[in-house]
């Protein structure tokens, strides 16, 4: 039963206030994309053991989607940030790198 801080309303939200949205920072491929690009967008998911970026919605709270960086093995949450981010904030990336030197980056 996770607890994540919603970056929009500051509530430390119980998992039961949230709905999951799976992997974050996917790039959408629409008409004109190759089969490989579309497949990667629709189906290829990282599912790492370790640092992972994912989408959550504070569905029973302020209604906003946000992104979370979490270790899937220890469940440590490195940080949450607004969904309107094309990349994790640099400070967060630095923090993760410091804690997990082997981390290869979010891409």
């Amino acid at each position: 039963m996770l607890t994540l801080e919603c970056p929009y309303c500051g509530v430390m939200a119980d998992e039961t206030e949230l709905t999951p949205g799976y992997e974050a920072h996917l790039k959408r491929f629409g008409p004109g994309s190759t089969d490989e690009e579309f497949e990667a967008y629709m189906f290829a998911r990282k599912n790492p053991k370790g640092v992972h970026f994912e989408r959550w919605r504070h569905a029973y709270g302020c209604g906003k989607w946000f992104l979370a960086a979490r270790d899937t093995a220890t469940l440590e949450v490195f940080g949450t940030y607004p969904a309107q981010s094309s990349a994790p904030p640099q400070a967060l990336q630095d923090k993760i790198k410091a804690k997990r030197p082997d981390w290869k980056g979010y891409k």
């Binding site: 089969d35 989607w65 469940l75 969904a83």
Partner: protein, 998 residues
């Protein structure tokens, strides 16, 4: 025999006698007793039968670790199986029945298994029941079901209330012994919000029984003072009778509060499940004493030494007149001393160690107790009760040196920290060879959301078994958990105890006959010989061995049997104990009642039931409801002696002939507004919505990115920058979330706002040739064909109520859908019913709606779609824009296999004999597949009897679709010959659409 002593008993109130029954026998106890104490006070040592061999089982322990004394408590609507007598409080009127025996506790036929025990070795389930195949179902299973199993499942609805509650704290202290109390003091001193939960009804744990002295006063007095201090602190919440069941991710804790378990029927909830989010958890859960493995260690009367002491000191109950103590440590000497002080006989202390010269042995000797060092128990004598023990050398093979008569054997194999809470979320253990125990490895704690340790073990749970060390450890743990400055720990008098000597089998060289009588797991009948056999058969992993032998399964969960079993396995594998490791500790620590887990969710509030503003009217007018999501919608309204099919038929004919009313309030209504709203809707729907004229309606399809059809509905344009999107009943929340997802996460620079106004409006569909006449009778606005043509809407008033009227139709009839603020929904409905009386108006339900739309060939999300159907499969290409560069699902639909001619596509079907194709039927094809199953070429998606056409009609998906118009195919029919049907146009009724105009 076991009996009540005339003096003492720190937890009982001798002035408050209580009466209870055990197996129907009326017995007496005292307030403050556990049921186990009361039973022993009444000489009831025999409490059940073991799982496999049905051997007699007595009370072994005095707390949560008790493996045998599991009871069916109460009766009828208050029957609760598998309750531990050792943790159940005795109350006036309590009734308990022993379990797992037949026909009676004293005479049990299943004991015959015992005679055949060598045929029921470890893994017998797997070995025995494989062959012959038929035997499992007809012989083994019925036999096992009869003779095995624990308690009886209740058959009546539970009479009690249960509830849940949320709590938040900085530090949750699990355990109210001296360590827990000390940790709480340390944590709370800095102002942290602290909760202290103790599973027993009293505080203090073992220290008062063991006679510790803290801060110069007896432990009991120190506990009383400390509890008072804590209770006065505004930042501390104390709860006894509240068992911490489990620690979950991010310091989430479940605890079971036995609010009125001991006062049934007093109006309070029987149990309450606390759902606690703690920042840190202090696990001050103490330690459990280990049994010793000697032959006959399961005979009633063989008990844990600490339990024997507890019964004497806490409840003034003597488990027996003559107690032989057998031990590998000094602590058990306390039991001998306590018994002697209570005036009971201790004929001998059998100490497996070569020497016993510490303070406690010296004191015991001085009291005149005989001590035999280097000795072991070769065998316990007795059947339903211990009658004596045979002594032997621990270093030998079990040759009896002498026999001593006794009725209780108090054993102690040392102590194991209760590491469950530490381990639930992955805290690791280290093997402490000196103390022969696994304890928490501080370097590898369970991690919380902030990456820091979330559980701090304290006191005996951390391996600090003695009061002085436990208090020091707990003060540190409490302060660390709270992030507070350390405080000075209370000082306890140090204990002078010699180290224990690990003894895993007694005697050391015991042969196979003895080992086959040494129980590791009393409840599941797992013996030393079973674990050794498993090792010989190649079970090297402790997890496999557990499942193969059933060691530590069921309610034990690694409490009593764990370490001894591991040690025996390690020995058999010639491995070190830490290399064998432990099995996984999983919550709950002790079982939590299902009622508490369900909490308030039962009866009327089992789940949310969504009601439209007209719900009560439907109920009062014969509605038969069907669930649609959490809504209940009228399926049909029955009249007179009608069955449902007859009601549906009447409703359809009346709607097609006169006028019908449908409660359509459940349809999703989403407002989409903003400068980019048109552009957004063009991405959301497959067709173009941005060019919809103000005041107009348009049917639209929504797909997911995979290209599959996800929802449909009528979109209306309210204003230049405002659209209202109707969704399916089940789609309102889902589509609203879908919209917000794309707006927030992909097109966040687009200026669009959405609002879900589904529940703001009641919506009523008025359909049928007389619908216009009905609306005109209400009066207030012009609903003529000229002013309000098909696929337009208008706002105004009807019968004085503010409405928006849409000229849309899902039945093919002249039809209006009227939206009205929900608070006026019932009023408008009533007015329509009254005004329509002479027009023959009748309400119709969802089934009539379904049939009428099928007669018109309209698809239904969830019938024609199943998440793998693209709009093109349903011949809905007309609703897909060819001009748009992009929309959600467009790229998905471009994948080659989605345009394959082999795809199953929509067509209509009419049976040759007029019958109705069965729901779910497949269309047969030639040949068989690789599994020898008949090939199929399609399936039915909607199939009904059409009252309008007086025959069966259906829609379905078939390879080739409408290209095969006129062909006859066969549908499967369970229990009958295939049904022949012709492929036809799915628009069965009013193909030219003339009826839309009335």
């Amino acid at each position: 025999m076991s009996t009540r002593l005339s003096k003492g008993g720190r937890l009982i109130d001798r002035s408050a006698a209580v009466e209870f029954t055990f197996n129907g026998k009326r017995l007496r106890g005292f307030k403050g007793d556990t049921l186990a104490a009361s039973l022993l006070a009444n000489d009831q040592m025999l409490v059940g039968r073991s799982f496999k061999y049905h051997r007699a089982r007595g009370i072994v322990a005095s707390g949560a670790e008790e493996p045998n004394a599991l009871m069916n408590m109460g009766a009828g609507a208050r029957l609760e199986p598998n309750q531990r007598a050792t943790t159940t409080e005795t109350f006036d009127g309590l009734s308990a029945q022993s379990q797992n025996h037949w026909p009676s506790l004293d005479f049990d036929v299943g004991v015959i298994n015992n005679a055949f025990s060598r045929f029921l070795p470890g893994g017998f389930y797997y070995k025995t029941f494989i062959h012959p195949r038929f035997a499992w179902k007809h012989v083994f299973e019925p036999f096992i079901r009869k003779s095995a199993g624990l308690g009886k499942a209740p058959t009546e609805m539970d009479a009690d209330r249960y509830e849940q509650a949320y709590a938040f704290c900085d530090v949750l202290v699990a355990g109210g012994g001296i360590a827990g109390l000390q940790a709480a003091l340390a944590a709370a001193s800095g102002g942290a919000r602290v909760m202290v939960l103790e599973q027993a009804p009293h505080w203090g744990g073992r220290a008062p029984v063991d006679g510790d002295v803290i801060e110069g006063i007896p432990a009991e007095a120190w506990v009383k003072n400390t509890v008072e201090t804590l209770e006065k602190m505004p930042n501390v919440t104390m709860r006894s009778r509240c068992m911490v069941a489990g620690v979950y991710d991010h310091s989430y804790v479940l605890a079971e509060d036995r609010v009125a378990d001991h006062t049934p029927g007093d109006g309070r909830p029987k149990k309450r499940l606390w759902r606690i989010r703690a920042t840190r958890i202090v696990a001050a859960t103490g330690a459990l004493e280990r049994p010793l493995s000697f032959a006959g260690n399961d005979i009633p009367g063989v008990m844990l030494a600490s339990a024997v002491r507890d019964y004497v000191v806490n409840w003034a109950v003597s488990p027996g007149d003559r107690t032989v103590v057998v031990t590998n440590n000094d602590d058990a000497y306390r039991t001998a001393i306590a018994l002697k002080e209570a005036g009971l006989a201790v004929p001998c202390i059998v100490d497996a160690r070569a020497q016993a010269d510490g303070a406690l042995p010296t004191k015991a000797r001085a009291m005149g107790i005989r001590i035999e060092t280097g000795k072991a128990i070769a065998k316990v004598k007795g059947g339903k009760r211990v009658t004596g023990v045979a002594l032997c050398m621990q270093a030998g093979e079990g040759a009896a040196l002498e026999e001593i008569s006794c009725d209780v054997v108090a054993m102690s194999g040392g102590w194991s920290p209760v590491v469950h809470l530490w381990s639930h979320c992955g805290g690791k253990l280290i093997w402490d060879a000196a103390a022969a125990m696994f304890r928490p490895d501080a370097a590898r704690p369970p991690i919380s959301h902030d990456g820091l340790a979330m559980v701090y073990p304290a006191g005996a749970a951390n391996g600090a078994l003695h009061a002085d060390a436990a208090l020091q450890d707990a003060a540190k743990a409490g302060a660390a958990a709270a992030g507070a400055d350390p405080i000075a720990a209370a000082q306890a008098e140090p204990r002078d105890e010699a180290p224990l000597e690990p003894i895993w089998v007694m005697p050391q060289g015991a042969g196979v006959k003895l080992r086959a009588k040494m129980w590791l797991d009393y409840q599941n009948d797992v013996k030393v010989s079973d674990v050794q056999l498993a090792a010989r058969e190649g079970y090297e992993s402790v997890e496999h061995t557990k499942r193969y032998t059933t060691l530590g399964m069921a309610t034990d969960q690694g409490k009593l049997s764990n370490i001894n079993g591991l040690a025996v396995l390690a020995n058999a594998l010639n491995a070190e104990i830490p290399n064998v490791g432990t099995t996984t500790f999983r919550p709950p620590y002790t079982p939590v009642t299902l009622g508490a887990l369900a909490g308030e969710a039962r009866g009327e509030i089992f789940q949310p039931l969504r009601r439209t503003p007209m719900h009560a009217w439907h109920e009062a007018h014969g509605a038969y409801f069907e669930p649609v999501g959490l809504w209940r919608r009228p399926y049909c309204y029955t009249r007179g002696g009608e069955n449902h099919a007859q009601s549906v038929e009447r409703e359809i004919l009346n709607t097609r002939g006169n006028v019908g009313m449908l409660d359509a309030s459940t349809l999703g209504k989403l407002i989409v507004k903003g400068p980019d709203a048109g552009r957004f809707l063009d991405m959301l729907y497959t067709n173009v919505m941005s060019n919809l004229g103000i005041g107009k309606c348009r049917y639209g399809l929504m797909c997911n990115e995979n290209g599959f059809l996800s929802d449909d509905g009528v979109v209306v344009r309210l204003a230049e920058d405002t659209w209202l999107c109707h969704t399916t009943t089940g789609g309102a929340e889902r589509i609203h979330a879908h919209m917000e997802d794309w707006l927030q996460c992909e097109w966040w620079d687009w200026q669009v706002y959405t609002a879900n106004v589904t529940e703001e409006y009641a919506q009523i569909a008025v359909a049928g040739p007389k619908s216009r006449a009905l609306l005109e009778k209400l009066g207030g606005m012009d609903v003529s064909a000229e002013t309000l043509p098909f696929m337009t809407f208008a706002e105004g008033t009807l019968a004085g109520l503010p409405v928006r009227v849409y000229r849309i139709s899902f039945s093919g009839e002249l039809s209006y859908e009227i939206a009205v603020p929900a608070s006026h929904g019932l009023a408008l409905w009533d007015k329509l019913v009254a005004a329509g009386a002479d027009l023959g108006v009748q309400p119709y339900g969802t089934e009539a709606m379904h049939v009428m739309r099928a007669e018109k060939g309209f698809i239904m999300i969830g019938d024609e779609t199943d998440g793998t159907v693209v709009p093109q499969d349903l011949n809905l290409g007309w609703a897909i824009s060819k001009k748009k560069a992009d929309y959600l699902g467009k790229r998905g639909q471009e994948r080659s296999y989605l345009s394959s001619p082999d795809r199953w596509k929509l067509a209509g079907f009419e049976t040759l004999d007029g019958s109705v194709i069965p729901d779910g039927a497949y269309i047969l094809a030639q040949g068989v597949n690789a599994n020898g199953q008949g090939n199929t070429q399609g399936r039915v998606t909607s199939t009904y009897y059409s009252p309008t056409l007086k025959k069966g009609i259906a829609m379905g998906l078939i390879k080739g679709g409408m290209d095969r118009l006129g062909e006859v195919v066969e549908f499967t029919k369970i229990g009958g010959a295939p049904v022949k049907a012709r492929i036809v146009d799915p628009v069965f009724y009013d193909k030219e659409g003339a009826r839309n105009n009335g």
